[in-house]
Amino acid sequence: MAAAMAMAVALAGAQASDSRTLQQAIDLIESKGDVRAALPLLEAAAKSSDRAVAARALLYIGQVRAASDPAGARNALERILAEFPDQKAVAEQARVRLGNRAAAAGDQVLLSGDAVPEPAWTSVSPTGEFLAYTDLDTGVLAIRSFGTGAVRRIEKSVNEGDWVGELAVSRDGRLVAYAVSMPKRQSELRVMSIDDASASFRVLARNSDAYVIPQEWSTDGTQIAVQISRADSTTQIGLISTKDGSIRGLKTLGWRGSSTVALSPDGKWLAYDAPGHESTAERDVFVLAADGSREVAVARGPSRETVAGWAPDGRSLLYLSDQKGPMALWSQPLVNGQPAGAPTMVAPNFRGTPLRITASGELVYYVVAQDQSLQVAAVDFQSGKRLTGPTFPALDRWGANRQPRWSRDGASLAYVSSRPRASTDRTMAIQSLDTGAVREVPLQLAYIYTYDWSPDGTSFIARATDLKGRQGVFRIDAQSGAVQPVALNGDVGHFHPEWSRDGMTIYYVKGKEEAAKGVSSDAGQSYIEREMQSDEERVLFRQHDVKTGDGTTLLQLRKEGISPDGRYVAAFSVRPQSTLYVIEIATRRARALLHRQRPGVIGRNGGVQWTADSRGLVVNLGADSGVAREMWFVPLQGDAKRLDIGVDDLVASAIAVHPDGQRIAFVAGQPTAIEIRQLATSRPAAR
């Protein structure tokens, strides 16, 4: 008895020691960025008898080794899944990092790398031979053959400001339906021949207050299942006739709609998914009669279920679900729209985005694996030399953290952190620099684009989408996460809000959304100062009032920022070249500070911020669409200087400059895999 007790005491002591070792390693990485010194400690902790400590140590090994030793990193993560499945939270992170579903036996990679388009604007042909997609560089419709790789643009009549959105290839592979958004909230649903290059498109629906998204064609080609995104932030599931464009609205959902709507091969049923309420990421799957006569829940529970598509014979519905553990692909047999028997698992550990179930039963899906992390480096802006770092704050949620912002007193670092299984998708995390402690604030928002700390640190001002689907400027309580609308978008939008130094006013750009996106040359934007107490707006300057050096350039107030001393606003022109300007508010004169030939490479996705002393700006500078390769300091006076931040895979996203004028928080890392794959769905997976 005594011996047993002594052993237990010794074990507890050893485990406490292992826990301390792990914490030492974390401190080395988070505060000093010293991965080399941390690794032996992590290796030691990974041998701990404390399973929680060992699993976390393996997770961190998998994270910090990703760049230098991918195989070792992968091995560590796979050990978690094999040896520590009981450590569910850690295992889930390992699974995410392992690149979603590893290409299992039988999976075929159809497309990879830069050739892979955005899945939201992609439709795979029913035979799986080609895909139709929106070319993000030009905004027009193109076809890519999986077999030959040949690309053919088929939509040639897109006007300036028009944008091809979601698409659906017909079941015979000869037609494509696609949504086009246009300026002034206009949109069209068009149908076009894929084969006949000389044929013109046909407009099925034209709307000024609804956006019709094609989902799936009927077998006979007479109707298309659609989602109609309406001006009141609701989404209606319906069917549109391809003969006359008449729409049968079947069911109205919240603004987030269904991830997809799948029409059964016999045209009698529509499968869709929907969240149970506005503030949850969980969804349930339903089957709705195409005549509206009834509806049945197919997969329901405290979990995330989304539609993948109908089996070719229409006798079963495939869907994704994490109800029984990791996300998996399931098949539910249906008879007359009703579940018949238990569902069977088709593919475990599935993390892709379904694109199409082909006529021969393969699921074509999109998969992306990220290896990006929030990092901090200290740099001397004069010389450009790195002083320390990069360090890795927020090691525990590696890969999930974005959009860093330092508090005005420099004592805290805020960042937005994804929480895929939480009740809200995103959390604001606030990390104290003194203690390293992280406080999480659940965001009552669906999405947050840009934000800024209030000077007193009690709240944020953000451009966001709330849980009702409204976009605009919101104030977020830094303690509770409670959200209050400040300026909602209507006919005009509100963009890039920032606090004044005294916290009495906020600044933002007001104007047409398409202008703010840079897809239109509409010059109707204004730079606004808003008194928070009275809600009174004052126009500081209008875009067309600004005079550039040669007097001809129209500026687009894009990803701008007001200098902390309130004298300047940074702005960009994005076409035909990239130029960073500062506009002196008093004189409304713009001065070019930095220039690049290629359009859109300066300060993408919020990658710009003023220094606290208003001396200049730190900007991301990229060469292609996804990755910003360089970070530069651009002073108001003097030459721009490239900053050595210790990484060469800087991500084109928001950066944050610490008030000390040295530390910069940023996101770096590259996608490890972007692929379109296909897997057979005909045989159930082994349990």
Binding site: D209, S233, D291, S293
Partner: protein, 388 residues
Amino acid sequence: MVVLIELVLTLAIPLGLDLYLPVPESNPLTAEKVALGRQLFFDRRLSADGSISCASCHNPGRAFADARPVAVGIFGRRGTRNAPSLVNRAWGRSFFWDGRTTTLEAQVLRPIEDPNEMGSSVAAGARRVGRSPDELRDALASYVRSILAGNSAFDRYAAGDRRALSPEAQAGLRVFRGKGNCSTCHIGPTLTDEAFHNTGVAVRDGRVIDVGRAAVTGRAADRGAFKTPTLREVARTAPYMHDGSLATLEDVIDFYDRGGRPSPALDADIRPLNLSAAEKRALAAFLRALSGDVRAGAIERRLPAELRPGRASPGMRVAGRGGMDRIPVRRAGRRRLLRPPNPLEDPIRHVKQPLSRRTRGKAVLEFEPIDVRHIRAKFSAARRSSPG
């Protein structure tokens, strides 16, 4: 070959509403229940003194709402809240101003037992009308479920008829969705988010005089919050708000323009709107354009989907009394096969008269009505017909 076909009974859904109308499996919609429900809705015997029916406060002529600020029950007893319109409650997620019930089946019985309304009991009311309590419940719920409002000028405008709304009403629509912030809560086909909001109406002299939703949830944050009412037919449902305290649409617009009434838990979306006089007029014009058709009990009978024109194919199975049968059916043309009269109006005529006979050269289809739910279909080969 002769088979008995069970007709699909659905409500005729007006323009602007979802075609899918939720009906609980425990109380499927039938013409019989809807007809009974309609009788009961007007039956004063459900009240303790035989003076009050559902229709006493839910006047069909006023979109099933009440012209009085608060409901008046037996012996002239006054309630505390305005009787809301019953249109489109089939899509409701909770009922009463405070959402105290979550199904129509539960809702329809409450007024019978409310001492300020009918002041009776469900058992006694059911006895007086010669029905069981379950029959009473299911029939009333079915009838209320059949009260639909749509096909307004706004619906026609949204469906593509750009002339359906006057220019002023179109301007009002822009205010509704933009500066007026109305479409934050009044959304979707039913023009309600079915949620609860504190607009300050229940506050007098800084005091909440009706706790509203908090009586159900017990949450302090819900004190003074009430369910968003539908705006369909709103021009016909004055007076407004949960207590009927605002007499006109203009009063309501002024109320919101001022930012509601100060309240400790005022909804974050309620704030001064600073609408101009022209914007207010336009908004009122738009709200008046939300009036259209109100229907109750408008049951449609349809052939099963597979027998409808353009849907039939050889060899399909059709459900009929006595099991499944295999029927050789050819495409029957584009016109509707059946357009039966509403049996609620004249059930005898409906049953007695033959409905339709269609031929398309390959097969002859004869339909004979049996009762309100069934028809007998005779398929006989003609000329070149061949069974599937």
